[in-house]
Symmetry: C2
Subunit: 331 residues, 2 copies
């Protein structure tokens, strides 16, 4: 298994963290991401956006804000970027539409909110949070979720906002090969610029020792039938409880659901005595046994971010305490 | 915690079970179900339908059929009855519509299928199984799920089929009090015949040692915004893996999702060394701590069914080996 991003905090920052550590980790999806597939310019764009997302979360945490706000802020930056398969950069369904899923969970009390198949909401993660905080429910889907988000006054966007030429070309290629594209897997006949989309997520620990997790996605290119993956499923794509860990997953959603990936990871830590890294590796081994691939990001109350993926690469990064954000893409 | 249905198998039947045990357990929802609320005639109807569902599953198992077929057969009987809040007896949403959810899981390989917000499919559990066996997905929702089920040739029904006077009256009362009804909780101003609806589910062990679980529901009376509860969520309302247990849950879906109830139960058995009964009790304690109520049915490879609920009653029953089905309602 690939190790975490190399620790780069200064000794002073590390010492400060030991009293009241805070940290955030993010992912922008996992898949066939190789050095050969990314031009230097595109790679720089990814790194800059990942760093911006980390800074958005870090600012919240450094100001003694809650981890819940930090993960939402980081995910919002990734949703607003056309580079990642969430929010603005969402891929197209078989019918040429956008269907976005998101979820968020608060480790303090396991409150959670999730939405599936949103079509016009600019930041699905805000809709998930509104479900958590302003409804009696956890999961809303489809037209009803859309209606709820609009009633809550969340910003919407016209179809053109979500309509990028790259995503449309990906749909054309996928339709031709009748293929579902998972995260960053490039089809054999990938158009230039392919292999650059994916679920996004964040996990964080705040100074009060509270964990939170958030995940957002546009799902699979060419998906049909109202398919919902693991991202909006509490326990599969997202989990947070202060007693164990906060987790966000990315990859072949169906196998992550069948593995109850995020909650299984927490259970391995809580009841199985595993370290977060070993638990993440074991969950990925299970996912692989079920025929899937992808990645996980994890944080516990020590504030040490953990990354695991069984793909060529995963867009990822972390910021521990006030140290400069670190990002990575390849193994 | 309430104990299981009293064991009633003959010594001979128990002996036969010890070599290659097989068993099925079912629930028809939990809630405010008291002796005072049910007339003898209505109670007899419930008992007869629960027994019929158990026999349908038992027949499959006795003929060396797979537990997957057994749980589907049992749930189908409960879906076909107007007594239970699933399939035909589904409650109405705020808009006076039907939205049904279901899921199924195979303990052999953790294959799983689920549907949410179906509106015309007669047996949602068959749609969940079709998703598992004939799609590349695990969870389909809304119009897409409906389209998939129709393409698969599953039986549909006109709105009148689902339209019972009792459910309509329940919606009227719930609308007036702007109240969401959970399972079998009767509102203060309950119309005669209320307190008689609920999620249904089944867990089974077959002679080959394979576990399976299935859950189906019409959700909450007066629900809005495409609300989805725990029933179609693999890991919350349903879980099955041969290495631990098969579980089906019923109750206040939101808290069961936040507890990852079904998978948490499996994890407590697998990693926490708990017996299924103790694990079920612990999960219900967590659900209660999160403000919820409901029940769980569990079976492991020993074939001993386990029941747990923190409500006044739970429609339930089991059939071990070839013994006559046993049913129970109250504590």
């Amino acid at each position: 298994m690939p190790g975490p991003v190399a620790a780069g905090a200064t000794p002073g920052a590390r010492a400060a963290m030991q009293t009241r550590p805070f940290a955030i980790a993010i992912h922008g999806g996992a898949g066939t991401i190789t050095r050969a597939a990314l031009t230097p310019g595109v790679e720089a764009d990814y790194r800059a956006t990942l760093a911006a997302a980390l800074r958005a979360g870090q600012q919240v945490l450094a100001a003694d804000g809650p981890s819940l706000d930090a993960v939402a802020a980081a995910v919002r930056v990734l949703e607003d970027s056309p580079l990642f398969n969430a929010g603005r950069g969402s891929v197209f369904t078989h019918d040429g539409r956008i269907e976005m899923d998101a979820s968020i969970m608060d480790g303090r009390d396991r409150r959670a909110g999730a939405v599936a198949a949103l079509t016009t909401i600019r930041n699905p993660i805000d809709a998930a949070r509104a479900v958590m905080e302003r409804s009696r429910h956890v999961l809303l889907v489809g037209a009803g979720a859309e209606e709820f988000a609009r009633e809550q006054g969340l910003a919407t966007a016209e179809p053109e906002y979500f309509h990028t030429a790259l995503r449309w070309e990906q749909l054309r290629v996928a339709r031709e090969s009748d293929r579902l594209q998972i995260d960053h897997d490039a089809p054999a006949s990938a158009p230039a610029g392919d292999g650059k989309y994916g679920t996004v997520g964040a996990v964080a620990l705040d100074r009060d020792g509270n964990l939170a997790a958030a995940t957002s996605t546009g799902g699979l290119t060419n998906k049909r039938f109202g398919r919902v993956g693991d991202s909006p499923i509490i326990g599969a794509g997202t989990w947070a409880e202060n007693e164990s860990v906060a987790v966000s997953a990315t990859g072949s959603g169906e196998t992550f659901i069948r593995a109850a990936a995020a909650h299984e990871l927490a259970a391995l830590v809580k009841y199985g005595g595993r370290t977060p890294q070993r638990a993440a590796d074991e969950v990925l081994a299970t996912v692989e046994r079920l025929g899937g691939r992808g990645g996980l990001i994890v944080i516990d109350r020590s504030g040490e971010p953990v990354f695991a993926f069984n793909t060529e690469g995963m867009y990822r990064g972390c910021a521990c305490g006030v140290s400069a954000p670190e990002v990575a893409i390849y193994r």
